[in-house]
């Protein structure tokens, strides 16, 4: 495999063999190692020393179902630490097929200008693209697919990335209507903007030509994995994810009192029934939209939807739980139509719906609009794309918005907004938010739905549960596997070991796999420490330890000593 180096200072591209230190890494693990090896941890995230990395996971491009996610990484302008955010779509598969382990974008142009990187099967080039300036991600990807072919994958930023707003994300196209798959968290769109890179276009690859180390081993493990997915009533065509999508959890998160409501001031939302997955499916199908579509080639779970308006016109490629929580209940909005409109704008401007939703909640608490007032919220959201001073503040995320308006109730950890689970009623997630090197991020170790292990409202066992989940998340993010496909691998890690050995011939054991997963976290923790992040930064906001959350009157009361020692035996 090879690395594609893109020097934005010299405006040159080059391919190089994968250095030995990176050979057995992929996705998130590769990003952590590369940042440690190649950038000064204390550097300016929007400066010339930071690097932006696009990397499929170890399984990317080999046709493993649900395993083609693309990791995007760099130093985060939002958290000041390591950042990996991954997205579905076709990029992970395309890069894997053409033997690219990672694209590493370095430096900053010395002159104004805007560029696209065109990646072909046998080369790459930087092309000036001033005509794309200030376009949203939808128009950008449409124009580039008109030029390079409908089968090309487009990775792009919108206006927010160009403005280097700290909640800016990176959009990846998928097949069909799934145009917006977001590497959403941590402001990586701003890093892309800082490098004057508007988009990466990857030509549609031909047939896979890469040789496998052990064809039979890979095929047998891959087949067994797929069988497990398809035949599992939780995951297959009768599974909740396929039928109701990620929104299937709205009612349950509300019932346990953890649904962010009105800037995280309650764990229950009185209109949650209008936001449920069941309502989403019913509305979508009644209007002629789609349910159970897929974001990645070969996905057998197919949890996506195409949400349409009352006339059947598509609004967004998929409406997801985190967006519904942060831009619905968190803003006092009980209408999926309203959430979908805001979701479209976030996708187009290229901002994270979680951090932007949290920022809007904080802005409303500051008196800039009212909870439940869609018109007022829409007006604030429009300002993000327009780049007004207020819009730039909101587009810089919840932490910045709170600082500017003097609001103390700001739901962030390590500068990054909390996703759709209030940590006071789901304390395992609070431990993950506080301790993950990625900042507040449910995908770094989500305790929701864990059974027979810990009481979500108790203190006991939260640290151990979070650690276990964080190690699993590191595996998922480094292999390219979607988190919904994790049950068969958790039940039988040998399946993953066999797939990796079948592809690469590394002779991994289950213990090697375990150490691989743990090393991802070790590298990230080391990078953050060298960035200047201390134990005092890995904390839940003080108000969440003091202000009780309805309906359970819960505060976050897991001891700091538990947070500080979670990785002691990593």
């Amino acid at each position: 495999m090879k690395l594609l180096r893109v020097d934005m200072n010299q405006l040159q591209v080059s391919h190089e063999p994968v250095p030995p230190a990176y050979e057995r890494l992929g996705g998130r693990g590769l990003i952590a190692k590369l940042l440690l090896e190649e950038i000064p941890p204390a550097c300016d995230a929007l400066g010339k020393y930071n690097k932006l990395i696009f990397a499929p996971g170890l399984l990317g491009g080999f046709g493993v179902p649900t395993a083609s996610r693309l990791s995007v990484g760099g130093k985060s302008p939002l958290t000041g630490g390591v950042k990996e955010a991954n997205a579905g779509g076709t990029a992970g598969d395309a890069l894997g097929r053409i033997d690219i382990k990672a694209i590493v974008v370095e430096g900053i142009p010395t002159q104004p200008g805007l560029y696209i990187l065109h990646v072909m099967e046998d080369g790459a080039e930087l092309v000036e693209a001033p005509e794309l300036s200030n376009l949203g991600t939808y128009a950008t990807s449409e124009r580039l697919q008109e030029k390079f072919g409908k089968g090309a994958t487009v990775i792009s930023i919108g206006q927010a990335g160009e403005m280097m707003l700290k909640a800016a994300c990176v959009a990846v196209t998928g097949s069909g209507e799934q145009r917006s798959n977001m590497a959403a968290r941590g402001g990586l769109g701003a890093v892309m903007g800082s490098k004057h890179l508007k988009a990466v276009v990857i030509d549609k690859p031909g047939r896979m030509t890469r040789r496998l180390a052990d064809d039979d081993l890979f095929k047998s493990a891959n087949h067994a994995f797929m069988e497990k997915l398809v035949n599992d009533p939780k995951l297959g065509p009768q599974g909740t994810q396929h039928l109701y999508g990620t929104a299937s959890i709205v009612a349950a998160v509300n019932e346990i009192g953890s649904l962010p409501t009105r800037n995280f001031s309650s764990g229950n939302f009185e209109d949650e029934a209008h936001l449920r997955g069941e309502k989403l499916r019913e509305t979508t199908l009644a209007r002629g939209g789609k349910a159970g579509t897929r974001c990645m080639p070969g996905c057998v779970i197919a949890c996506r939807n195409q949400y349409v308006d009352q006339t059947g016109k598509p609004i967004v490629g998929t409406l997801q739980y985190e967006t519904i929580a942060l831009m619905g209940s968190n803003l006092g909005l009980g209408s999926l139509d309203d959430v979908a409109r805001l979701n479209y704008m976030c996708n187009d401007f290229g901002v994270d719906t979680i951090d932007t939703g949290a920022a809007l909640g904080v802005a409303i608490e500051a008196g800039l609009a009212e909870f439940g007032d869609f018109g007022g919220i829409l007006s604030l959201m429009q300002q993000v794309g327009d780049g007004t001073p207020l819009g730039r503040i909101i587009g810089s995320g919840a932490a910045t918005t709170g600082q500017v308006f003097g609001i103390r109730r700001v739901p962030v950890c390590l500068g990054q907004a909390m996703p759709g689970y209030d940590p006071r009623s789901l304390k395992g997630n609070g431990v993950t938010y506080a301790t993950s090197p990625q900042g507040a991020d449910h995908t770094a170790g989500n305790a929701f739905g864990a059974r027979k292990e810990v009481n979500p409202l108790g203190q006991t066992g939260q640290k151990e549960l979070s650690l276990k989940l964080q190690i699993i998340a590191a595996m998922l993010d480094s292999t390219g596997l979607c988190l919904f496909a994790r049950p068969p691998i958790i039940a039988n890690p040998q399946l993953m070991v066999d797939m990796v050995n079948g592809i690469y011939g590394w002779g991994w054991t289950v213990e090697d796999y375990n150490q691989f997963n743990r090393q991802v976290l070790r590298d990230e923790i080391k990078f953050n420490r060298q960035s200047g992040i201390t134990a005092q930064d890995y904390r839940i906001p003080e108000y969440m330890r003091e202000e009780a959350l309805a309906p359970h009157n819960a505060v976050f009361d897991v001891a700091d000593s538990d947070l500080d020692t979670i990785f002691a035996d990593l």
Binding site: T240, L243, I249, A251, A252, G257, G420, N446, G449, P456
Partner: protein, 74 residues
Amino acid sequence: MDIEVKLFGQIAPELPRSQEISVPDNINMSDVARILGLNPDLIGLMTINGKQCEDEEPVTDSSRLCFFPYLSGG
């Protein structure tokens, strides 16, 4: 005793999504699931009065019980 039962997702679509029923005293969550004829293999998460619980959790008068399918946060 009387309890409120709510069902979600693909659990027993033939039953009302929300109903009040009378059940014997001294029963637990799995007893209620059995009385309703729910397929235990499809139950992924249960709550009683908003608190997550397991099969053995005692059910008390006037409680609100929820049965959810397997869920995964995302």
